[in-house]
């Protein structure tokens, strides 16, 4: 069985193909579009998020029940995050930040279920989400502030002779944001899932090799249990970090002066 291959869980399989654009007709050439296991879990993430939020709050209780309270807490949590980082003006991006947060959070959490695919374990997904944030910041920043948006790269109160050094640093740090944002999420999820798989894989491979192997397998099992808890924490924290950084970047677009 492929049970102990730590990389196998990231394989993308076609559930049904849709189209191949370009290429010479051979395997792997051209742009191949298909409904994949990744797509399935993206759809599941959206469906679960939407149904949970809408159904839990559908009764519109004045005094919320537990289910409705969770939705309201999530709403207030993200709303306070946006308001705290980007100000009241940033609330126009509240649906975007909320969507990003729930997409990453639910995607990460779904990935914690055994045999489920983790959509955020692919760099292209996290990078696309980061680019969405990055382009939103740039476009909105220029629309709202015009050329003054470039003031973002010139920190106020810095002596003129330091500016030639500081400004390139600011530009580089700005341009590296989508990379750091995407690699942070991708790397945490990928590494966590590989580690989890490797340690729990030890249990499976140690049991057949005799008494000491079976007895010793308790150690990687305990490690696996501990890592599972840690990975749940990482799944939540990384979604939060992604959302908070999004808010801070949006704040730059709204208030470009430091």
């Amino acid at each position: 069985m492929a049970g102990t291959d730590p990389i196998h869980q990231f394989v993308i399989e076609d559930i049904f193909p849709i189209a191949t654009i370009g290429g010479d007709g051979t395997e792997g050439s051209g742009l191949h579009f298909a409904f994949t296991n990744s797509a399935l879990f993206m759809v599941a993430t959206v469906a679960i998020t939407f149904l949970y939020l809408v159904l839990s709050s559908s009764q519109k209780r004045l005094v919320p029940n537990r289910l409705q309270l969770t939705s309201e807490l999530l709403y207030e949590f993200v709303a306070n995050m946006v308001r705290g980082s980007a100000g009241t003006e940033g609330m126009k991006f509240f649906p975007l930040v909320f969507s990003l947060f729930t997409f990453v959070l639910v995607g990460n959490m779904l990935g914690m279920i055994p045999y489920f695919f983790t959509i955020t374990s692919h760099i292209i997904v996290t990078f696309a989400l980061s680019m969405l944030v990055f382009l939103t910041v740039i476009i909105y920043g220029f629309i709202k502030n015009g050329p003054k948006f470039l003031g973002l790269f010139v920190p106020a109160g810095v002596p003129g002779y330091i500016l030639p050094i500081v400004t390139p640093i600011e530009i580089i740090s700005f341009l590296s944001r989508p990379i750091s944002l995407s690699v942070r999420l991708f790397g945490n999820i990928l590494a966590g899932h590989i580690t989890l798989k490797v340690f729990t894989g030890f249990v499976v491979t140690m049991i057949p090799i005799g008494f000491f192997g079976a007895a010793g397998s308790i150690l990687p099992l305990l490690m696996g249990i501990a890592l599972t808890g840690l990975e749940f924490l990482v799944a939540a924290v990384q979604a939060y970090v992604f959302a908070v950084l999004t808010c801070m970047y949006l704040n730059d677009a709204i208030h470009p002066s430091h």
Binding site: A2, T4, F10, I12, S38, L53, F202
Partner: protein, 200 residues
């Protein structure tokens, strides 16, 4: 533990190879295509899967954004806003009620004070009116008495005057009677004239 781990190392690799062999040789279906896909490249870095992932990410994330911004968030936000409005309204109503209560208490106290003042006023008025009544009655009685006194005095004076006027008559009669006794008949007029002459 360390020795066990190193012991476990070799079988793991063997197992891994066996697993890869099994998927390669055995099942031909989708797993075959999948293992071939990631045969060389690490799946997250396999560009062949990028178009599908980007396509479905765009579709699903756009759907999520629309569903959140149009339906889910307005619904939850509406519930929260309704609750906040309700709480504010209730607090305002409570405040209003307290204000009304305070006003009612103030009005009551004012009414009480005015009633007390009025009662005192009425008492004073009554006392004054009684005193005035008493005074007027006394004045009337005094006036009556003084009138009666003057009337009585007038009557006395009249009686006295009358009595004095009768003195002449009596004197004339007496003089006539005396003269008649002494000198025979004397007319009344003569006697009177004589009396009045004496008086003068």
């Amino acid at each position: 533990m360390a020795s066990e781990a190193t012991e476990a190392e070799t079988p793991t690799e063997e197992n891994l190879d066996a697993a890869v062999d099994a998927t390669h040789g055995g099942s031909v279906g989708e797993t075959h295509a999948a293992t071939e896909d990631h045969g060389g490249t690490f799946p997250p870095f396999d560009p062949a899967t990028f178009p599908s992932q980007l396509l479905w990410l765009a579709i699903t994330f756009a759907a999520l954004y629309l569903l959140m911004s149009r339906i889910a968030l307005p619904q939850i936000g509406g519930v929260i806003a309704d609750r906040r409005a309700r709480v504010d309204a209730d607090l305002k109503a409570a405040d209003e009620s307290r204000r009304k209560t305070d006003a009612a208490i103030a009005a009551y106290e004012e009414a009480l004070a005015s009633a007390r003042a009025k009662a005192q006023g009425i008492a004073n008025e009554t006392r004054e009116s009684i005193q005035a009544d008493l005074a007027s009655k006394r004045a009337a009685v005094e006036a009556d008495l003084s009138e009666k006194l003057t009337a009585a005095e007038a009557r006395i004076a009249e009686t006295k005057a009358q009595a004095l006027s009768h003195v002449d008559e009596i004197a004339a009669e007496t003089a006539q009677a005396v003269a008649s006794q002494l000198i025979g008949d004397v007319p009344q007029e003569q006697a009177q004239a004589a009396v009045s002459r004496v008086k003068e």
